[in-house]
Structures are given as C-alpha cells and as structure tokens.
C-alpha cells in the first residue's frame, strides 16, 4: 500500500473499498526528462497519475510549434482515454523528470465496471466535466442542481378556470374545494386572475355582495411564462413584478399556474426572503438591512451550485428593486414621472453580483423644471452609499452634473462623443450602451438609445475605433497555448472578461441589438446570424467561467476587491485549469475574429 492522494475527482467517485483497491494496485515509475511515456498509436496499458513532474501531450502529426495539446502536472491523470479507446491518439512525453503512479489497465477496467460513476467521468467531454464540477460544489445538494434544471412544466399546477358568470360566492367555494389560492376567469378569449386577496378586498373593503360576478375584481395584466422555461426564471419574474404567481401560457391559452409557495417548496433558499424584505421595507434603514443580506444570498446560491446566469438574473432584479425603492424614498412623485434613473456598466448589464460600485445617470424629460435637482441627486448618491453601493471612482454618478441631462442634452452629448472618438468618449459611449433603466420613465432611456444606435452603428470608422479597445490586453496564454503562470496570478478581468464583454458590446452596437446583458446579446447575435450559435454559446460559457472564478475569489476575500481579479493558476485544480485554458482559447479566437471584422490587424 502506498500513500496516494485520492481526494480529487475521479477518485472521490469511488468508495473506500475502491480507493483501497487503487492504493493496492498502483506501481511507481520514473520517467526522465524528454522520455516518451506513451506514444501515439501505442495501446494504453496504464492510467498514469503524476506524483511529481510535468508531462506534455503532443500531437506528432502537427508541426512542432502547434503540436502541444495538453499539459499535466502533479495530481493530474492521463492515459485513461487511451485505454478506453484501445490506443493512444497522442504522444505523452515527460517535460521534467516525472514520478508517476501507474494504475494497470485490468484494474482500471474492473473499477470502471464496478463503479459506473467512475467510468462515466472519463467519458465526459469538457462541458460535461464543467457541470460535474458545479454539481460537486453543491455540497450534498443534488436536489439543488435538480431544481436549477427543473422546468416550469414540472412544477406548475392545473389552472382553475371558471367562466365569466361565476359569482364571488362560487369562486370562493371553488377555491376552498381545490385548496388553491387563485383562479382564472375566462371572458371569451381573455383570462383574468382572481386571488384570495382580491376576493377579500372586494367583499370587505369595496363591500360587494357575494352574488356579484368575480370577473369584476379580476386582473387582466398577467405575468406569464412558458412551460419550457426554467423554474428559476419564474422566480425571477415574480421578484421583478412583485407578484406571487405566474401563469404558464401556451399558444395564448393558460395551461398552468406556478405559485410562489410551489416554487418555495422546491427552493427553500433565502432569495425570496430577501426580496420580500426589500418589498416590505418602508424606511431606508429597513432597506439597508435587506440590502446588506444580498452577499449572504450570493454565497448561498453559489454553494448550491446555481448556474451563474440565473444567479445574475436574480441579483440584477433584486438590485434594481432596491434602487427603485430608494429612488422612491428620495424623490417626489412629480419628478419621478418626468425622469429616468439608469444604471450602467456591469450593473446595467446585470452582471454585477456583488455590489462593487454605483454607475448611474439621470435622464430628464425635455422642458421639465426641477430647481432643487442637484441637491437631491447628491442625496441619492449618499443613500446608495448607505445601501452598500460604494461610490464610483470615475464619478459616473447622478451627483455629477455631467451624467444628468434632458433627452436633448443627452443626444448632443452622444453626437459629440461619436464625433470625437477619443479614448474618453469611446468609454462613455460604451458605458451608455450598457444603460438599463431601473426607475421612472423608461421611455426616456429608449429615446436616448435610439439616438446612440442611429449615430454609431453605420459608422465603420467609429466601430473600428470602438472595437480596438477589446484587443488592448493580451490573453494570458503562452506561445504554446498553455496557461501563463506568473507568481502573482493572471488578471482574469483584463485577460478574459473584458475582451468578451467589450467585443460582444461592439457587435451588438453594429447589429443594433438592444439587450444589455452580455449573455442576452450573445443569444441575439446568434439569432441574427452574426455569430454561429455554438460559438456564441461557448463564449457565454467562457464568460460564466471567468465570472465564477472571480466571484469565488471575491467571496473568499470578503469585499477587499483589490486582487480579486488575479487568479493564481497553481492553486486551481487540474480540471479548473483545463477549463480556464479552453476558455482563454475561446477569447483568443474571438479577438482574432474581431480584428478581422474591424480591420485591426495593423492598428
């Protein structure tokens, strides 16, 4: 028996007996530097587990510079695929003197037979491996991962539909008989929602008699979803629209209702509790308390292995609600109707999971008179700081008059920026492109954005200048395509997140895509035909990976965001390293496409 570290996947998929079989069955071998361990075409006799040293995976059919496919270091595994395929496709060569554990083929095959999960691990493709990693993070919570993958159709209940002649009395009896909280009233082709609260208010507050038809109290603006959507999206929708049920619609007909209680019975996390606190807050202090709980919520979602895209959606909705609420506390209703508060930057894209800084601006209706505006805007900034949104170092905040203006002023600014196209103007255009309205008259923002698209999307020179920024930082890959490993880590924001976000933003501007989140933009660009669907999906996955890595570091360091963008490659597990390398290759590929499209090769 030898001491082998079997605490990493795939060995965690074995039980103790299985691990003991591995311990009892492995041999040790030394390989000299440059020694070929397993040649292409050779049949695999062992699974190799590196104890010490480095091994390169080479494709001998390729020219030397491009032949390097993979790189393995201590703790990594190779040779398993060769056994499953019968022979090795590539050459494995020791880069340093390497000490490997050798797991014989026969034992490996027996383990595969006895532990299907173990065998499955080796048959997974990279994306599958990524999913495996996520599930593993959901400590003991396969149910949670199941929830994230659950569709609305799996959780909805039959809609309770009554005709328009039904009286309030009958409606209440029907609800009681079927233990439901709401029913749909059908009036020819329209459907209206009647909840228990509506009925109670009708009887008690408005004093209607029991014989009156229930349709009089029905709401016809339904919050709808389709049965194929993820259950999580229903929750996002409920949060955003402040309702407790979503109607599932197919071909314009209601086929089911998802009640909040149903979702909660699946999902006993704190997300609803926090959003409830936000909604119920009627003073700034209460709002601040609710707002302070969002990092905790993020932590919980991450621990449960929630897909980042949905976590971001939920958090963006929540942050939007918090800001709208704060806006409501600070500003008179008269002014609210004539202005629009927008958030920009990562918040505007809905990609800010932790509150890093506030980027916001104000758009006023033309001709609206607001004398005490400046003082009130300073107050808004103060309030947001109290709610946990640190001030923006670039001073892109409503307290700065540069970021406040009427629609026509904004139009002038955009025209000026587009004409000047220096670094500062391009940055401001980029910021404005990501603007998203959180409170007030959203139509005002649409007018400004119309102008922005109109002015910029056909201007090839501007687009070329705009796109160039995406190439500003080099991708942290070596000449041979493996990860760079500086001591202080690689900057994942500059090397990975920024090129994707900005490149996609550029393409969105070119194609007039109005979505603001990068993932939505990718979807729209794929639909538009600008990008192949598979490439768009890969880019989205890469972005999600970078964001997740960064988020994990932010959570670990608890807000001291200085170094959170630095990922020290040596500290990642081999699986994560593999994923990171693949993702960075996607970035490199994307940059190449950008430079071709916008003729940046020589700039």
């Amino acid at each position: 028996m030898v001491d082998v570290d079997l605490s990493q996947p795939p060995f965690t998929l074995l039980d103790d007996a299985g691990r003991n079989r591995v311990r009892g069955g492995v041999d040790l071998a030394y390989f000299d530097s440059q020694e070929v361990i397993l040649d292409a075409g050779q049949s695999g006799e062992f699974v190799f587990m590196i104890h010490k040293g480095e091994v390169a995976e080479l494709d001998p059919t390729m020219p030397a510079a491009a032949s390097r496919i993979g790189h393995y270091t201590a703790g990594d595994l190779f040779g398993a695929i060769s056994i499953l395929n019968g022979k090795s496709r590539y050459r494995f060569q020791a880069e340093q003197e390497s000490l490997c554990y050798l797991l014989p083929k026969a034992l490996f095959q027996r383990l595969c037979d006895d532990y299907p999960a173990f065998a499955e691990f080796f048959r997974q493709s990279l994306t599958h491996k990524a999913r495996l990693l996520t599930e593993r993070r959901a400590e003991g919570g396969v149910t949670m991962a199941g929830f994230m993958l659950a569709r609305i159709g799996e959780c909805m209940r039959e809609p309770l539909v009554v005709d328009q002649a039904t009286s309030i009395f009958d409606a209440v009896s029907t609800l009681n008989a079927s233990h439901a909280d709401s029913l749909l009233v059908c009036d020819g082709e329209r459907f209206g929602m009647v909840t228990k609260t509506d009925l109670l208010n009708a009887l008690v507050i408005e004093g209607l008699t029991q014989e009156r038809p229930a349709i009089e109290v029905a709401h016809f603006e339904l919050v709808t979803a389709s049965a194929e959507q993820y259950l999580f999206e229903a929750l996002v929708r409920m949060t955003r629209h402040e309702v407790a049920r979503v109607v599932v619609v197919e071909d314009g007909k209601p086929v089911g209702v998802v009640e909040l209680t149903d979702v909660l019975s699946f999902f006993s996390s704190r997300s609803y509790v926090v959003s409830l606190q936000v909604e119920q807050a009627d003073s700034l202090d209460e709002l601040a308390r609710a707002s302070a709980r969002t990092p905790e919520l993020v932590r919980a979602l991450m621990a449960q292995g929630v897909k980042l895209r949905f976590a971001m959606g939920l958090l963006a909705a929540l942050n939007g609600r918090i800001m709208a609420k704060a806006w409501g506390f600070a500003i008179d209703e008269a002014h609210r109707d004539a202005s629009c508060l927008v958030v920009m930057g990562s918040e505007g894209r809905g990609e800010q999971i932790l509150k890093t800084d506030q980027d916001n601006a104000l758009i006023l209706a033309d001709g609206h008179d607001w004398p005490e505006r400046e003082a009130q805007m300073r107050e808004v900034t103060e309030i947001l700081i109290r709610l946990g949104y640190p001030p923006c170092p670039g001073n892109i905040m409503v307290s700065n008059p540069e970021w406040v203006g009427s629609v026509s002023e904004w139009r002038e600014r955009i025209a000026r920026w587009a004409a000047r196209r220096d670094g500062d103007s391009l940055m401001k255009l980029a910021i404005m492109l990501d603007a998203h309205a959180v409170a007030g008259q959203t139509a005002l923002l649409d007018q400004v954005r119309d102008e922005l698209f109109e002015r910029c999307r056909r201007d090839e020179i501007l687009l070329s200048y705009f796109a160039r920024t995406a190439l500003r930082f080099s991708t942290p890959l070596t000449l041979f395509g493996s990860l760079k490993k500086p001591q202080h880590g690689i900057d994942i924001k500059k090397g990975g997140i920024f090129p994707i976000v900005h490149g996609v933003r550029t393409l969105a501007l070119e194609r007039g895509v109005r979505a603001t989140s990068t993932l939505d933009r990718l979807d729209a660009l794929a639909e538009d035909g600008r990008l192949e669907a598979s490439f768009a999906e890969d880019l989205g996955e890469a972005l999600a990976l970078f964001t997740e890595l960064r988020l994990r570091q932010q959570l670990e360091r608890d807000g001291e965001g200085e170094d959170a963008n630095r990922v020290v490659v040596q500290q990642l597990s081999s699986l994560e390293r593999d994923l990171l390398r693949e993702a960075l290759h996607m970035v490199k590929d994307f940059k190449q496409r950008l430079s071709q499209r916008f003729h940046l090769e020589y700039s």
């Binding site: 028996m1 030898v2 001491d3 492995v26 040790l28 071998a29 000490l99």
Partner: protein
C-alpha cells in the same frame, strides 16, 4: 571474503534441501528493495518489528507486488524505537512469528538481487534470525544504494563530501520521501533512489 566462504558452505549444505533454489544464480530482470524496522540499532540485540520488500522491474517500482510484514511483539520493544517507527505493541497484535515471517520473505524475494539503504544493518539482523532457524544466511546479491550514490557522486564531484543522511540523499536525487520510518515506505524510497541513479541522475549534470 568471509561472507563468500560462508555462502559457499551454505550452498553446499543446502543444495539438495528445500531452499536449494535460493542459491541458484538469478537470471530474471527483477530486483527487490528491502527494509526492516527494529527495536534498536545494535545488530547483536535488536529484534525485528516489521519487514517490507518491493519488487523493481523495467524501471518501475511494483508497489502492487509488495510484501509488508508485521511481526509479533518482541520483548525488547521500548518507547525509544516506537518513537521512530510508530508501531506500538498493540499495532503488532496478530503479527507473524519470526519464523513464518522469514519464510514468507524468502518466498517473496527468492534468488533476486536485493537492494536497500544501509543494507548491511538489515542483513545482519535478518541473518541473525535466519541462521538459527533455517541454517543459512541470505545468499542474494546485494546492492547498497548509499554506496551507489557515493560512487556516482564521486565520479562527478570528487571534491564534495557526500551527505549520507537518507533525507538529504533523497532531496539531492529529487525523490519524494514516502512514509519515512515505515518499512515499506523506506523500501520504496530506496528503490526510487536506485532507479534515479540507474537513469544517470548524477552523471547527467
């Protein structure tokens, strides 16, 4: 010289016996790394606590074909040696008696050459127990890893006085020390050192 004479006489006496095959010259390509833990450092009084042996073939340490024997608690097992090898009296409950253990060991190593770290010490103790019970010393060819190291080092850096501490040599050869002061761990580490020396770890640079 004395050893050679003794082996010749052992061989003649046991040629027809049960263990005669041990005296045949070895023709295979395997070797065995061996190590034992004892109750003391004096070869005249120390008792065996555990013995381990691991085969080496084709530049590989066959840890899957290894022997790790625990013996019955010897009377001289004391705190001092337990501190080193970590085998308490209770850990040795159910261990083999010396005779059974040596029998298993002979079966395992056969006539393969033996290697080890400070092999003389291990040999002296094993032979002290072997001779009264079986009537011969281990006849196998011996490879002393520390000597190989000194030889290779002298060839490349004659001016360096070799540091012959086990850990220091392991470090110089870039070999991980696996389970120091367990019989199997030391045997495996010694085997790895030998493989490194065979591949020219010292000569290369």
């Amino acid at each position: 010289m004395l050893r050679a004479l003794r082996r010749a006489s052992d061989r003649r006496r046991h040629a027809e016996g049960e263990y005669g095959w041990l005296f045949h010259p070895y023709t295979g390509n395997e070797m065995v790394a061996i190590d034992c833990e004892t109750t003391g450092l004096d070869t005249r009084t120390a008792e065996l606590v555990s013995i381990a042996a691991v085969k080496v073939r084709d530049g590989r340490v066959l840890t899957s074909e290894s022997l790790d024997l625990r013996l019955q608690r010897p009377a001289s097992l004391s705190g001092d040696s337990i501190r080193i090898h970590g085998l308490r009296g209770i850990d040795l409950a159910g261990g083999d008696c010396v005779e059974a253990a040596l029998d298993k060991l002979l079966d395992f190593i056969g006539n393969r050459p033996l290697m080890g770290w400070c092999l003389d010490f291990d040999m002296a103790i094993i032979n002290r127990h072997l001779r009264p019970r079986f009537g011969f010393d281990l006849p196998n060819a011996l490879i002393e890893v520390s000597q190989r190291y000194v030889r290779d080092l002298r060839r490349v850096h004659p001016e360096i006085e070799p540091n012959l501490r086990f850990e220091a040599v392991a470090k110089a050869l870039d070999v991980p020390v696996i389970g120091r002061h367990t019989a199997l761990g030391d045997a495996v580490t010694a085997a790895l050192m030998y493989l490194r020396l065979e591949k020219g770890a010292m000569r290369g640079d």
